[in-house]
């Protein structure tokens, strides 16, 4: 078996809806048995990319391959290899959980008995066994999502697409969903996960692609992206602004190298990048103490993907800069 063939290839995907360019040449690959997190704010083009890869939408140009199969040329063959869980739990609420699973199994052309066995197995695995023969209308939001994912898994897809799997879930259901996804990852499922939540991408994905306004603006592992945003920093907040320059001198000595400090007089904060994070906070505290400086806070700040996003796009994930697709003017675009 050629295992070096990527499970998913997106190659220069473009898609325009009327006057809006939803995708402007998106490319990425997903190696087998890895998780790709597609991160971006609302309207960035994440769902459009997923819809193209899952044959629901035709790209204007570019290629999309699932296990080497072109999704535009052989949609039914591609569909036989994928599972899709969209933003809204796509379950038939008039049927029971078991009937929903059986239906999808039959439409994957599984033998009835095999589909039934697999359905029971998945209901068990997603803690739906007790609700299996109840009508889905009475299920909670979290149960519906789990059933939705179970339906996507019934025919053992080679690639699973999860489009914002935790959007709209309460915090507890969200954690449950993370556990479910962890389980899939442990099984070696190849997974494409879109999310607006940085913590979710950090927690679940091997590789991350950041999309904004239809462009891939960054890609890499979580560590690579964080390193790109400047790494860890020590932040010292003083009780009184008069000591700012003294402190910055101290910090430059501790951080060593060519680190440049930044001083914010308004918040009475000095920030400096550090390369070695071990014991840096106690060292700083001891030095400040020895100098008799009154500090209110000393913190080692690890960059989050939020910092990365801000660095790359000039806006955070929570507030999309604009919805009309026009490009933001600042930010490090490539």
């Amino acid at each position: 078996m050629s295992t070096d063939l990527p499970a998913v290839v997106a190659d220069g995907l473009r898609k325009r809806f009327g006057g809006t360019e939803a995708l402007r040449g998106v490319s990425f690959e997903i190696p087998r048995a890895t998780v790709l997190g597609v991160l971006g704010p609302n309207g960035a083009g994440k769902t459009t990319a997923v819809r193209i890869l899952t044959t629901l939408l035709r790209p204007d140009s570019g290629r999309a391959l699932i296990d080497g199969i072109d999704v535009v040329e052989h949609p039914r063959l591609a569909r036989a290899r994928i599972g899709l869980t969209g933003q809204y739990a796509a379950v038939d609420e008039r049927l029971t959980g078991f009937e929903n699973l059986l239906l999808v199994g039959r439409l994957f052309h599984m033998r009835r008995r095999a589909a039934a066995t697999r359905a029971r197995e998945l209901l068990d695995r997603f803690s739906l066994d007790e609700a299996a023969d109840r009508v889905v209308k009475g299920y909670s939001g979290g149960m519906r999502r789990r059933l939705d994912i179970a339906m996507s898994l019934i025919a053992r897809p080679s690639v699973l697409f999860l489009d914002e799997p935790t959007t709209g879930l309460d915090p507890r259901s969200r954690l449950e969903m993370w556990d479910v996804i962890d389980g899939l990852v442990a099984d070696g499922t190849t997974l494409l996960l879109t999310t607006q939540y940085l913590d979710e991408a950090e927690r679940l994905a091997d590789d991350i692609v950041v999309i904004d306004h239809g462009n891939v603006i960054a890609r890499g592992t979580e560590e690579e992206l964080k390193a790109a945003s400047g790494g860890a920093r020590v932040e010292v907040t003083l009780a009184d602004a008069s000591g700012l320059h003294l402190v910055s001198g101290l910090l430059v000595g501790i951080a060593a190298g060519d680190a440049t400090e930044s001083i914010d007089a308004d918040t009475r904060t000095v920030t400096i990048p550090v390369t070695v994070t071990d014991h840096v906070v106690p060292t700083v505290v001891r030095a400040l103490d020895a100098a008799g400086i009154d500090v209110t806070d000393v913190a080692l700040r690890q960059p989050t993907l939020d910092d990365v996003f801000l660095e790359l796009t000039g806006h955070t994930t929570e507030q999309p800069a604009d919805d009309d697709g026009s490009a933001p003017t600042r930010g490090a675009r490539r």
């Binding site: 078996m1 050629s2 063939l5 499970a7 087998r32 819809r51 899952t54 044959t55 629901l56 939408l57 391959l65 296990d67 080497g68 199969i69 052989h74 039914r76 063959l77 569909r79 036989a80 290899r81 994928i82 899709l84 969209g86 933003q87 809204y88 739990a89 796509a90 379950v91 038939d92 609420e93 008039r94 049927l95 009937e99 239906l103 999808v104 039959r106 439409l107 994957f108 052309h109 599984m110 033998r111 009508v135 339906m151 025919a155 053992r156 897809p157 080679s158």
Partner: protein
């Protein structure tokens, strides 16, 4: 049980995944039946939907027969029942088709259509499964209506063969109208929109017709509309058959309408379905 043909994937095999995509007529039927079964299970579980669908027409039968029946005499018919009950059958069967647009719009809104479109099934099975299950549902509604009709004094004066023929013609129209509704359901932006778009045109269509009164009693400008209304043609054909008369050309014209509507709107719906994206 093995697939008639199995298209082979151009890519290399990946362990663990199911790759068979069977093709051929037998699998087309299986996919369609699986989809129709989804709706039939739901109908069986919620028979109240079926009951509600019959309340309005039953009310019509009772109101028309007992309220207007005394005042209206239609020349050539032994009673108003013999005239109006076939008209109400036709109206019921056409109104029943509105379930198709509402059901499809619901599936679209809830993302279920997207789920189905991402499966390796025959895409057309989604729509055919829906219209076939609605046909089964409308057949049940018709049976209930027939029983109510017989209770209020309607009689199958044309004998069993003509009655069966009339019933089949009604069901063919029900199926044809389901395809109009399928297109409406696929085009509507919401379930509410599908609901009103599915119903609104059926009132003028069924009332500006021969279903309840003779079109010759209508104002002059309305008469040609009523007379050429396909709903009038099928009502006249069905009424003639139930009353043991010769439907004449109405029979062939109504069959042509049913076939024409089915073919045109099924093709439009398939095309719309394959382009649908939300």
């Amino acid at each position: 049980m093995s697939p008639t043909t199995t298209a082979s994937a151009p890519g290399p095999d990946v362990p663990g995944a199911l790759h068979r995509v069977p093709t051929g007529a037998a699998w087309w039927f299986r996919d369609t039946w699986a989809e129709a079964g989804r709706h039939l299970i739901a109908t069986k579980r919620n028979p109240d939907l079926l009951v509600f669908a019959t309340i309005q027409p039953i009310m019509f039968v009772v109101l028309f027969v007992y309220v207007f029946g005394g005042a209206i005499t239609v020349p050539g018919y032994s009673s108003y029942q013999q005239f109006v009950v076939p008209g109400i059958f036709a109206q019921t069967i056409v109104f029943g088709s509105a379930f198709t647009s509402i059901g499809i719009a619901e599936d679209m809104q809830k993302g279920f259509i997207d789920r189905l479109r991402s499966l390796p099934m025959y895409p057309a099975a989604v729509l055919v499964g829906r219209t076939v299950s609605d046909l089964v549902r409308n057949t049940f509604t018709f049976i209930i209506m027939l029983v109510v009709g017989l209770i209020v004094g309607f009689r199958l004066e044309g004998g069993v063969v003509d009655a069966v023929l009339a019933t089949l013609l009604l069901l063919a129209f029900s199926f044809a109208f389901s395809w109009i509704q399928a297109l409406i359901g696929l085009s509507a932006k919401s379930v509410e929109a599908a609901n009103s778009a599915g119903f609104i045109w059926m009132f003028p269509m069924t009332f500006v017709s021969s279903a309840f009164v003779d079109p010759s009693t209508m104002p002059g400008w309305l008469q040609p509309i009523a007379e050429h209304n396909p709903f009038t043609v099928v009502t006249d054909a069905v009424r003639a058959l139930y009353n043991g008369r010769d439907p004449g050309a109405d029979l062939w014209i109504s069959i042509a309408w049913a076939a024409g509507i089915t073919v045109v709107f099924a093709l439009l719906s398939f095309r719309r379905f394959s382009r649908t994206s939300r």
